[in-house]
């Protein structure tokens, strides 16, 4: 009889997926760990306690990242939803959609580098506002593309129906369109939140080291060869999306084809 490889394969896969999480957590709890030891000399909450000390600035970075990503996710999702309607019903819809792909698909860091002059002129270079604006510019096109499919024949008919029943544009948005798109709005918010939360290159170019989001912190710690703090900030970076995903995994995944 043939031996089934399935349980074996499954265990390997679960291990492979869980390993990075466990390893990073372990690393964040370690200190004094020189080659070739397999176990660290110190294992405890030292690094996590340091989190609370303002010196590392990690807690500050965490909240700064939350503010930036929530702002970006919120503004990109709402404006993307409303404005994608104009795109979807526009006679030149395909050209406009193509145009919104450009800023989405280009490397954000190159995009940001070419734009930094204008950020300087606007006086938002190296500022949190600047980082929010910059990240908005790459997540807004995503939201536009994302909501493209919402505005079909059926939605149009629904809007028409609302107006023949006596509703104006505002009531069609508040009473019908927004409630209808509730699920999509949540997914889009989560996705644009993640674009911002994970963003490194663009933030480093526009923030020039003055706006230290968590990704910037991770990179700085790696540069300093402070891997324990690096792992600690990585944990902070992974935790919020993981929690949100646990609450509802369907928010995380959508297909962009």
């Amino acid at each position: 009889m043939r031996i089934s490889l399935k349980p074996f394969f499954l265990s390997i896969m679960v291990l492979l997926i869980l390993f990075p999480f466990v390893y990073l957590l372990w690393l964040s709890l370690s200190a004094d760990w020189s080659f070739p030891q397999v176990m660290p000399d110190y294992f405890g909450l030292k690094n996590w306690k340091a989190l609370l000390i303002s010196e590392t600035g990690l807690l500050r970075s965490f909240f700064q990242s939350v503010i930036i990503s929530v702002s970006v996710g919120f503004t990109a999702t709402l404006s993307g939803f409303v404005i994608s309607r104009n795109i979807a019903y526009h006679p030149k819809k395909n050209t406009l959609t193509l145009l919104s792909y450009f800023p989405y698909i280009i490397s954000p860091v190159v995009f940001g580098a070419c734009l930094s002059y204008f950020f300087l002129k606007l006086g938002i270079f190296g500022q949190m506002t600047g980082v929010i604006v910059a990240q908005f510019m790459i997540s807004f096109p995503y939201a536009l593309i994302f909501f493209n499919s919402f505005w079909g024949e059926k939605t149009k008919n629904m809007e028409d129906l609302v107006s023949t029943l006596g509703g104006n544009r505002l009531s069609s948005f508040t009473k019908v369109l927004l409630p209808l798109a509730k699920g999509m709005l949540l997914v889009c918010f989560f996705q644009t939140f993640l674009i911002s939360w994970f963003e490194y290159g663009l933030t480093s170019v526009i923030g020039v080291g003055k706006v230290q989001t968590l990704t910037i912190k991770v990179f700085l710690f790696i540069r300093e060869a402070n891997y324990f703090y690096g792992a600690l900030s990585s944990c902070l970076l992974i935790l919020p999306p993981l929690v949100l995903m646990y609450i509802n995994k369907k928010y995380v995944f959508n297909k962009l084809t």
């Binding site: 059926k154 629904m158 107006s163 023949t164 509703g167 509730k182």
Partner: protein
Amino acid sequence: MFLEIQYINKSFGKEQIVKDLNFSLAPHKTLSILGKSGCGKTSMLKIIGGLLKADSGNIILDGNDISELEAEKRNIVYLYQEDLLFPHLNVFENIAFGLRIKKQKEAHIQSKVKEMLELLELEDQGQKMPHQLSGGQRQRVSFGRAIIINPALLLLDEPFGSLDAGTRQRMQQLFKDIAHKFKITSLFVTHDLKEAILMGDEIAFMQSGKLKLYKNKEEFIADPSTGVQNEIGFWENLIPKGQNII
């Protein structure tokens, strides 16, 4: 006349969809319009409802020129073949929708919607969500939602097109009763010969953008282009064979 349509034209690009549309309709009457898909009937209804802009022509409703008025101010409800119930609202709230838009008093809304639910034989369904209803029930809710705001004119675009034969028959009767009770003026578009004859006080035929009105049903039946003669011929051809069998 209550509704007067004067010289309406509409083209998409080079193709003329509606040609010199001209007709009038007395109050509380139903004009049924027979037409195959693509004959321009949907465009015609959308122009009258204010959802599509005509290239030329006027629409007079109850003595007022409403040609330039926006859809939400016309008091004309356009109903699709699809029931288009709002999936996030229950049956009660779907029917109450237009009243809430008009910001009417809660007590008034409650009593009117209840009355409408009874009339539609949906008394026990008020709290159900649209996806829990059958096709016929959904279409009834859709009617209730339209009629409750007392529209001056009701436009029906193949309203029973997606229903099975039995449900369709019951809905036709229900509509006639309601139309009579609420004194509704309506345009009823269908591609079904029998339904066209059954539903209308007046009858018309639409083909490649042109609408032809008939003085009475006899004239409609006599016109070979409507297809009635063809239909009669089909049955007549069958009957002798049937008699042979017997």
